[in-house]
């Protein structure tokens, strides 16, 4: 129940059999062993919905059951979720279906999310490093490192009254999730003021401050990869990157170097510190204490 309890309400919501969902889950869990010419490939699924159905693809294949993943290798990444995906019927049979042009996005993951919202169904994108399940446009679970992870639910309300915009904190958390998914560690400090305090650049660089909202995710991850902290103001401006946090010796004994310095820094400055470990967990510190931790189950 602990591991798969979430699938029962989902089955009820979509009026489909929990047996079917379990078969989909098992297929995703087995996906790392599905290879073609010794290489993994991505594929996507959409559960046939009574509300709307996808048209058959130009390429017609003999339908095959979800429990026969070997057949997926025959078609490699033809159903990667950009132009085509597999449509799963109520008996678990897969057929190739065409994704309507208007739902196609820049990558298959986004396309499956859009498709899920558009035809009000359950879709799954299975990539080579992670898989995501969407229900009516909402991310339900991410399969990563052998676990079904729920998207972090952070109640930032208590910080809103202290002047931290919830939208900004949620955006930072979203970046942290992406970093975690790419196994990139880093620290992000959200501070009250616009002036940098008690930090110095780790590298000989000049950084022109910019808006977080206009910074693509890949660029943000690139900043995080430079080592050191990314400093943000509550106005949503990235003030500096690659910063060494200068703080005293008192600390919470939180473990790794990043956690230690984030904890100490948040004790000495009015800020919220996000720490992403390269092995996946995300920790949020405030006033020297660990406020919340996500993906703790990923810690080896």
């Amino acid at each position: 129940m602990k591991e798969y309890g979430w699938l029962f309400p989902l089955a009820e919501e979509h009026r489909c059999s929990s047996f079917l969902l379990m078969d989909i889950i098992r297929l995703v869990e087995r996906s790392e062993h599905i290879t073609s010419e010794n290489a993994r490939f991505s594929f996507s699924l959409a559960v046939e919905s009574s509300r709307a159905s996808l048209s058959a693809a130009n390429l017609v294949i003999e339908p095959f059951h979800l429990t026969k993943p070997g057949r997926l290798a025959d078609f490699k990444d033809i159903a990667d979720g950009m132009n085509m995906c597999y449509q799963v019927d109520s008996n678990g049979l897969l057929r190739l279906a065409q994704i309507p042009v208007q739902y196609r996005r820049q990558d298959p993951d986004e396309t499956m999310k859009e498709l899920s919202a558009a035809i009000q169904t359950l879709t799954v994108y299975v990539g080579t490093t992670l898989a995501r399940m969407y229900s009516q446009g909402v991310l339900v679970r991410t399969w990563r490192k052998g676990r079904w992870l729920e998207y972090p639910k952070a109640e930032f309300d208590e910080f809103a009254s202290a002047g931290y915009p919830i939208r900004l904190l949620s955006a930072v958390l979203a970046h942290c999730v992406r970093m975690s998914e790419k196994s990139k560690g880093g620290i992000v400090i959200v501070q009250k003021g616009d002036t940098l305090e008690s930090c110095e650049s780790l590298r000989d660089i000049h950084f022109s401050e910019c808006d977080l909202s206009r910074t693509p995710a890949a660029q943000f991850i690139g900043y995080a990869e430079m080592d050191g902290a990314i400093m943000l103001s509550v106005r949503g401006r990235i003030l500096a990157v690659a910063q060494r946090l200068k703080c005293g010796e008192s600390g919470g004994g939180m473990g790794g170097t990043r956690h230690e310095s984030a904890s100490r820094y948040s004790a000495e400055h009015e800020c919220i510190a996000f720490v992403v470990s390269s092995d996946g967990p995300i920790s949020i510190f405030n006033a020297g204490s660990l406020w919340q931790r996500f993906f703790a189950e990923l810690k080896p």
């Binding site: 602990k2 029962f8 047996f19 079917l20 059951h65 026969k68 008996n91």
Partner: protein
């Protein structure tokens, strides 16, 4: 257990045809032993769902649950040319093995049967069973059957003990699963969800 009536035997034969047709529809195959275990699990699931699938009497055999009546039914279906039995050259459960495939005449009988709500319900249970265990090999499904609680209980009394056809232990587990899900996790489980949970328990017990 009283012997099956003529109408019960006929109904069981049709149910077996439905099972073979569903296997073919899903691109799955079966041999003698797997057919025994699939029918057994379909009966267990049906019981959790408050239905009765077949009237076969299963007893404890050294290779898991076994029904002589089921063998007899499949032989009748082969004799009537509704099912094709292809010898596969292996020995299963100390006997020569066959692979079974439904023939055109059998398919038309199934189509006719599925017009009745009784067999349509059985078909639905069979499809769920196949979704859960239909892809298993003979050895895998046989090993899984060792984890089924009613079989385990009967096995304590020795080989040839008849397995209680009302499958009381899976009904008890169903009630427990529904209570735990509601009380501990706040999740409402349908009978179908509970049957899936029961199969997970069987998997765990089978190791």
């Amino acid at each position: 257990m009283p012997p099956r009536s003529h109408s019960e035997t006929l109904a069981d034969e049709i149910t077996l045809l439905i099972l073979l047709k569903a296997l073919a529809d899903l691109g799955m195959t079966t041999r003698r032993v797997k057919l025994q275990k699939l029918t057994y699990f379909a009966n267990v699931l049906a019981s959790i769902l408050g239905q009765r699938l077949t009237h076969h009497e299963f007893f404890v055999f050294k290779y898991g649950p076994f029904s002589k009546q089921l063998y007899s039914d499949i032989e009748v279906l082969v004799t009537r040319d509704l099912v094709k039995a292809t010898p596969v050259g292996d020995i299963e459960e100390d006997e020569k093995s066959f692979e079974y495939e439904i023939k055109a005449e059998g398919i038309s009988k199934v189509k006719k049967a599925l017009q009745s709500p009784e067999f349509a319900e059985k078909h639905s249970v069979i499809l769920k069973t196949l979704q859960a265990v239909g892809d298993l090999t003979t050895n895998q499904i046989r090993d899984l059957s060792y984890g089924e609680l009613n079989f385990r209980k009967a096995r304590e009394k020795g080989i040839t003990t008849v397995i209680d056809p009302s499958y009381p232990l899976c009904l008890e587990s169903k009630r427990l699963a529904i209570d735990v899900a509601q009380n501990e996790f706040g999740i409402h489980l349908s009978d179908e969800d509970a049957s899936l949970m029961y199969l997970e328990l069987v998997r765990a017990l089978a190791g």
